[in-house]
């Protein structure tokens, strides 16, 4: 087992798939051999979107159904995701990184340390600037907190610098990065963080 397994969690619609799409471009440029596992709640929506995006050959994108339980499949019983990751590693020797997208859940969701080496939690500005103050294990325990849709701050009355500062504070100084995934802004920093902390490459 050599590929780093990195989880991406966060509420539905915060931009997890958008982050992966933007990251795949950066990762390809950096020569990091990557595959993705999605945990769509229903059917293969996110997996299909990533396959159509064309950043990765379709067979490097796997969908694992979560049986109506997005947190179970990444935490209480991660075996389906472990099996999918094992199979990807067997089929693509030399894989550096497997990204696992959670089906989207609430602020209490966390990834099992049995499944991933590192995980990030993606929230978005439009969810409200009180989200970091609500804490929750997702916000507090993730190795990296990404606050996406920074472009929307003026439209939803959010003081973005203050939201970033509060998030950093509740995390006791743990890493927090702002992004606009739709435009690729801040994504190089997310990938840089992964390379330093997990990939060593």
């Amino acid at each position: 087992m050599t590929a780093a397994r990195v989880g991406i969690g966060g509420p539905v619609g915060s931009g997890k798939t958008a982050l992966i799409e933007a990251m795949l471009r950066e990762l390809a440029e950096a020569g990091i051999d990557t595959a993705v596992i999605t945990n769509d709640l229903v059917t293969d929506e996110d997996a299909e979107r990533l396959r159509k995006g064309g950043q990765l050959p379709p067979e490097r994108v796997r969908a694992v159904q979560a049986g109506a339980c997005p947190h179970t499949v990444i935490r209480e019983d991660p075996t389906l995701n472990m099996a999918a990751a094992d199979r990807l590693e067997a089929e693509f020797p030399g894989l550096d990184l497997i990204l696992l997208e959670s089906g989207g859940d609430n602020l209490a969701s966390t990834f099992s340390p049995d499944l991933v080496d590192f995980w990030m939690f993606v929230i978005d500005v439009a969810g409200g600037d009180d989200i970091p103050r609500k804490k929750g294990p997702g916000i507090l325990q993730a190795n990296l907190l990404v606050i996406n849709k920074a472009d929307l701050a003026p439209h939803v009355g959010v003081d973005f610098p203050k939201m970033l500062a509060e998030a950093t504070e509740v995390r006791g100084g743990g890493a927090v990065l702002p992004t606009v995934c739709r435009k690729g802004e801040g994504v190089a920093e997310v990938v840089g963080h992964l390379r330093r902390e997990v990939l060593f490459k």
């Binding site: 229903v42 109506a68 339980c69 179970t72 991660p78 075996t79 389906l80 472990m82 099996a83």
Partner: protein, 220 residues
């Protein structure tokens, strides 16, 4: 500690919903059957009983017994046989996917499976009930206890899917499980003969399993 308590404790651990094996994401046709109106809250217990009498007793029980009894090349060949007994491609794929999750679980928990099972995994024929038989043997369960664990696991899994699909409650399904306990005992006490083959029947739920996946929450 009595000599019999260790296997019972092991069986409780292995049949518990807390044991990670991926089965929670499978409804084995219940999701479609509910959507098609073939089953509802009131007939759920009967639906599970029928599944136990047909799919479990006719197929899983026999497949599992082979997985428990055989080893090496004979076990790998049994996996092949089971593979050819499943005419529906979708069913085969789902059963192998469930098997793969159990392999991943065994590796992670460090339970050494038989080389014949690992060979079947590589060949893509590591079907869940067979691997489960080998797995329960490797955990120290004798065949009768393994069969009980499997039958109970099937019923528990179906009811848990029903709860997540919102058709039944956690309390009502426990009442149903109490009702079904004698059936579970009766069916799992029927130990297959050494030369028994699974039946190639096609219960309603098999047909439900062949429906397109669109809009599904469960793997099947």
């Amino acid at each position: 500690m009595s000599a019999d308590s260790l296997p019972v404790i092991r069986a409780m651990q292995l049949a518990d919903s807390g044991f990670p094996s991926g089965v929670f994401a499978f409804s084995w046709g219940l999701e479609s059957a509910l959507a098609d109106g073939q089953v509802d809250r009131h007939s759920l217990c009967d639906w599970v009983a029928t599944e136990l009498r047909t799919r479990w007793h006719g197929f899983d029980r026999v497949a599992l017994a082979g997985g428990h009894r055989l080893s090496g090349a004979a076990l790998a060949a049994w996996c092949e046989t089971i593979d050819t007994m499943m005419p529906v491609e979708r069913l085969r794929r789902d059963s192998v996917q469930a098997g793969e999750a159990l392999f991943a679980s065994a590796r992670a928990v460090r339970i050494a499976l038989d080389p014949g099972a690992t060979e079947a995994e590589r060949a893509g024929t590591g079907h869940f009930p067979v691997v489960h038989g080998d797995f329960l043997r490797a955990c120290g369960l004798d065949l009768p206890t393994a069969l009980m664990t499997s039958a109970y696991g099937m019923a528990r899994g179906a009811f848990s899917a029903a709860v997540r699909l919102g058709v039944s409650g956690a309390i009502a399904t426990q009442r149903d499980l109490l009702t079904l306990a004698p059936l579970l005992a009766e069916l799992s006490a029927d130990i297959p003969d050494d030369d028994a083959l699974p039946s190639g029947f096609m219960p309603l739920s098999d047909i439900a399993l062949m429906r397109p996946r669109d809009g599904r929450l469960f793997i099947n």
